[in-house]
Symmetry: C2
Subunit: 276 residues, 2 copies
């Protein structure tokens, strides 16, 4: 693995608005990229069987399937629906040979002020998914998101909390952690909690924090365009023994989603070599 591109994965959300799944598989492969992460809406649009074949034929490693979790609902019927949806996603992730199912916590209902309660529900429901994941040979990758989307998307906000959840779940290799530079770079405990996650890190996502950022979710920067020392975080992650891919995952409504997707992929390849 001496060529940087062999460690690069592109999360297909990076070309979300430009390419379908088949276009992304072929497009990334055309630039020499050999790994990617897949989103459920795009997979279902293409069909699981056809996608699995195309990914295999293109020699694509699938570094993640997005996004499971969202397990905080108070309403029992809604909660059951999410559990069922996660089980389906575990099976889909297995069908495309994904390294993991990315699991986010879920947010808070607009009238829910009980954050500890929401966290307890989410943890309990991850536990409920473990037997199905284990049977499918699938790893659930707990991904703490940035605290600014705590209410909107994820009550799981820090690597410390992800480590605590792993301890509580005690599920061996069935539960791991996804480290996303954009979500965790600000954390004073970053080095300590990455070290504590040794053996648990199953995905490493990279995006930069733009100094003039203007949106809480859809304004991530390409590595090198912001203030995050991504290489330093990559070194911390690899010091734990992580040997997997570096997955570029850019939500970018104002910039990258508006560009020619071939240019986006070219820039991902360049920036990965230079800034990751």
């Amino acid at each position: 693995m001496n060529n940087p591109i062999d460690r690069l994965s592109i999360n297909q959300v990076t070309t979300r608005d430009q390419w379908s799944l088949v276009e992304a598989i072929d497009g990334y492969a055309r630039h020499g990229v050999t790994a990617m992460a897949v989103w459920a809406d795009k997979l279902r649009e293409m069909g699981v069987g056809a996608a699995a074949r195309r990914l295999r034929d293109a020699g694509m490693t699938v570094t993640g399937y997005c996004a499971g979790g969202d397990l905080t609902a108070r309403d029992g019927v809604a909660a059951r629906r999410r559990i069922d949806e996660n089980r389906r996603m575990i099976d889909e992730a297995a069908a495309i040979g994904s390294r993991c199912l990315v699991v986010i916590g879920g947010g808070l209902d607009a009238d829910d002020r009980d954050l500890p309660g929401a966290r307890a529900r989410a943890l309990e429901r991850v536990a409920e998914l473990v037997p199905h994941a284990r049977a499918a040979g699938m790893t659930l990758a707990l991904e703490p998101l940035h605290p600014m989307v705590c209410a909107l998307r994820s009550v799981l906000t820090t690597l410390r909390q992800a480590n605590d959840w792993c301890d509580a779940l005690d599920a061996g290799p069935t539960v791991g952690i996804a480290v996303d530079t954009y979500c965790v770079w600000w954390d004073p405990e970053l080095a300590a909690q990455i070290a504590r996650a040794a053996g648990r890190i199953v995905a490493f996502h990279v995006a930069d924090w733009l100094p003039d950022t203007c949106d809480l979710r859809l304004d991530r920067g390409m590595p090198g365009d912001g203030v995050v020392d991504i290489a330093a975080i990559r070194k911390m992650v690899e010091a734990t023994g992580y040997t997997g891919h570096h997955e570029v995952e850019i939500f970018s409504a104002r910039n990258w989603w508006r560009r020619d997707p071939d240019e986006v992929v070219r820039v991902c390849v360049e920036r990965h070599a230079r800034s990751v």
Copy 2:
């Protein structure tokens, strides 16, 4: 102190776009509010001597002076200018009898990727301010801001970090902590780090997190309009022995700054009684 309004303070930023300092002093007093926090730009516009007299004549307790700190600059001249500015603010805070000078960390220059370095500089410069603060009898209130403004405003992002800085500074009552519900509500360590801050909490700021929030800095919610259990956090803070005011501090470009300021104050009084 059985009447809730006796514990209410209003940070004058809550009526930033409507009222000068003299208007705010008189306006808050008109509604029976007996405590407020003051901003430097407004104080200087009025003049320190005149403001000190007016605050005293109105019977106003000054719960904070905003905002000191901003101590991350790499450039030596800029750093020296900030230290001098902070010394001036310590003197101004003392002149108006403020309970504390609020100190924020400062952000990152757009091309600065060394977050640990910026944190070390900020901590070192707070230490440099301690003798002047001690001589003036002024408390420096370290206020962790929300991690989403780490690059923009404050590399001091969590209560754990503020506690660690207090430990490192070892400055007795000259350095304390300001707890702001909007900045810390998401933190899984909230209860533990508030408990650890016992004896250090010198200011308690309240604002809510709006579920549909649209800005990283100027879209705070009035207590009761969002998802934060402010009363629960207030109880944690008071369980440490804090007996001070509850300071409503709302940056709100799209809502409260556009309203009639007397209405804003009326709502602060109501919501403080009901939701804090």
